[in-house]
């Protein structure tokens, strides 16, 4: 009897939470028609926002792989002084409000810091530019890849990597041939989370790159901008596109994981 009651409560609470996720999505999908949607995507500003978002989020993904995987490897496989501090610093952007991150980047890259002055003197201006968007998104989304990859590296049986070393493989060979293949699911998960977070990033991007339509306006900024100016049709169209992309990529990832060999 108690078990039935317990299961009922669990189901009820889960149902309430699922409603919180599903109902706003249903609201979005039911307030527009396919023909209206198709019409919205003819607008060059919306197309530009979509393109900028995909360009910058994919650049973020690439940069996170290049710079984030080594950090994840260091944290997972090595012991060094200050490891705890580095680990906490990596977590900080996840907890920090994106606006704060944006403010920090704005000061660093703008003309008010020595670094900003140094960049400007060499003709590099990251403020109100696509590279600025990438930096802002990388700051906010990069830690997701690092955390997920680190956990995946740590989950690989240490004896397996040590066996590779004893068989004569270098550390790099072991990383490439043993660690990466065995940690790939965790890395893929981190990639998806990083990409999705970068795609949906708003606060830091707005601070660093502004919302210049056709130049630095991303999809999330366009959603906000159109909604604030009363153009709900355009706002909904971009929002639906974001949802479809996020849902599809997560679905593809999950089905891929299911196809993996057990133990691999």
């Amino acid at each position: 009897m108690r078990d039935i009651l317990f299961n009922l409560i669990i189901s009820l609470l889960s149902g309430i939470f699922m409603c919180l996720i599903v109902l706003p999505l249903v609201a979005l999908f039911t307030t527009t028609s396919w023909s209206e949607l198709a019409g919205q995507f003819k607008s060059p500003l919306i197309v530009s926002a979509v393109i900028i978002s995909f360009q910058t989020s994919l650049a973020v993904l690439l940069a996170a792989l290049v710079f984030g995987l080594p950090v994840a490897y260091l944290l997972a496989m090595k012991n060094f002084p200050g490891k705890e501090i580095l680990d906490t610093l990596i977590d900080l952007p996840i907890c920090m409000p994106p606006l704060v991150a944006g403010l920090g980047l704005l000061i660093l890259l703008g003309g008010e810091s020595k670094f900003g002055v140094f960049l400007n003197s060499r003709g590099v201006d990251l403020i109100f530019s696509k590279p600025g968007i990438v930096m802002a998104q990388l700051f906010v989304a990069g830690p997701f890849l690092i955390k997920s990859s680190r956990q995946a590296f740590e989950a690989v049986n240490k004896n397996v990597t040590q066996a590779s070393r004893c068989l004569g493989a270098s550390e790099f060979h072991t990383f490439r041939k043993v660690l990466l293949p065995l940690a790939r699911n965790g890395i893929y998960a981190g990639m998806i989370m990083t990409w999705a977070r970068a795609l949906g990033e708003f606060g830091a991007t707005s601070m660093v790159a502004g919302c210049i339509p056709g130049r630095t306006e991303t999809m999330t900024q366009a959603i906000f901008g159109y909604a604030m100016s009363g153009e709900m049709g355009s706002s909904i169209a971009i929002a639906l596109l974001l949802i479809v992309f996020s849902f599809t990529s997560l679905l593809v990832f999950k089905s891929r994981i299911r196809k993996q060999l057990p133990g691999a």
Binding site: V160, Q162, R165, C166, G168, A169
Partner: protein
């Protein structure tokens, strides 16, 4: 290839795991590291393999100091307790891994592996992934993966601990066969004393980061140096004694163990270390004890003490019997066909003077005539 460890020390978080450890393993020797869990065995192997950096000391392989070399440059082969075969590679690719690292040609690898796979009965399994293999097949794969790289030294870290007894015996036999044929210097880690005695040319007993004794299996069993070694190899009868009298061949010992309601005397073969009035620990082998219903004088030289059976456990073809003698628990291993007693029955515990020996290892080995005497008594 010989292996020499000089003054190896290693601590983890301030807790010493290995302390000034010295060891010499002769070329072609099958050396067993025996000890309880947490004794430092795996750390020691890890230090030899180069996977753990010692705090101090050096490792020499074939008189070459390899202390600063990475694992791959030490020419060692290491087989792990959990096999550690690569889960994303099939049997063939697992075994070929080391050869590919050494950039041996693919044709050469195929030819070499064909020979080994056929020889070990893994040919049919070569395209299977680790999760599709049995425990024995996994261990064979791990062993083969190591052996095909032709290491100079083979290290095995409790490789049989997760296998059933039949597979363990089968793989042990294969391993000994390979080791004898190749003359590969081998260090084998185990906590199983039966495995250590059956495999090792010599055994090192490791306890709390220190080697308590290094001996051949025979010497270790019959001449343990310390109480720990004696108990670990299965001799639980440790008697605290005081030398009451000595003659040329025999000594009389007064047993004074804690918990004894009344001390008693025993005749023991005389050892050079016995000095009248001095205290010494004696070890009484359980398999050298006989039980008798009557206090009959079978042989004038035998010790006879009255006690009561308090426990009997079944060990296949033998019983392990615990007899209470005035508050002292003595353990005896009696063949089943000789056991016709009941628990709580009073019995006479009978053993020869040379069933006891002092705990001081080889240096106080029994004189030759005593051991001959002991052999005669065993036929009794």
């Amino acid at each position: 290839m010989n292996i020499v460890l000089r003054q190896i020390s290693k601590s983890f978080h301030g807790r010493p795991v290995l302390e000034n450890l010295d060891l010499k393993v002769a070329p072609g020797e099958f050396h067993v590291l025996l000890g309880p869990s947490g004794g430092g065995k795996t750390t020691m192997v890890s230090v030899i393999a180069g996977l753990t950096k010692p705090d101090s000391g050096s490792v020499l392989i074939n008189d070459r100091d390899v202390s600063l070399l990475p694992p791959g440059k030490r020419k060692i082969g290491l087989v792990f307790q959990d096999c550690a075969i690569f889960p994303h590679l099939d049997v063939f690719d697992n075994i070929a891994y080391g050869l590919r690292v050494r950039k041996q040609g693919e044709a050469n690898i195929r030819q070499k592996l064909k020979y080994y796979l056929e020889k070990t009965g893994l040919e049919k399994e070569k395209h299977k992934f680790p999760h599709q293999l049995s425990g024995g097949q996994k261990q064979r794969t791990a062993l083969l993966r190591t052996l095909v790289t032709e290491p100079e030294v083979l290290l095995l870290d409790e490789p049989m601990s997760s296998l059933d007894i039949l597979t363990r015996e089968q793989i042990s036999a294969e391993l000994v066969n390979i080791q004898r044929k190749t003359g590969l210097t081998t260090i084998y880690v185990t906590h199983n004393q039966a495995e250590a005695f059956s495999l090792g040319d010599r055994i090192s007993v490791l306890h709390n980061g220190k080697i308590e004794q290094i001996e051949t299996p025979e010497e270790l069993f019959y001449h343990p140096k310390t109480e720990f070694v004696a108990r670990f190899v299965g001799i639980n009868n440790i008697l605290k004694a005081k030398v009451a009298a000595t003659s040329r061949r025999e000594a009389v010992m007064e047993i004074t163990n804690e918990g004894l309601s009344q001390s008693f005397k025993l005749k023991v073969k005389n050892y050079p270390v016995f000095k009248k009035g001095e205290a010494i620990n004696l070890c009484l082998h359980p398999e050298k004890i006989n039980l008798s219903k009557k206090n009959a004088a079978i042989d004038g030289g035998l010790n006879r003490i009255c006690g009561k059976i308090i426990k009997r456990t079944n060990h296949g073809n033998t019983f392990k019997v615990t007899v209470d003698i005035r508050g002292l628990a003595l353990h005896a291993v009696i063949p089943k066909f000789l056991f016709n007693f009941q628990v709580y029955e009073e019995v006479w515990v009978v053993f020869a003077p040379d069933a006891l020996h002092p705990l001081c290892g080889r240096r106080c080995r029994a004189p030759e005539f005593s051991r001959k005497c002991h052999n005669d008594l065993l036929t009794y």
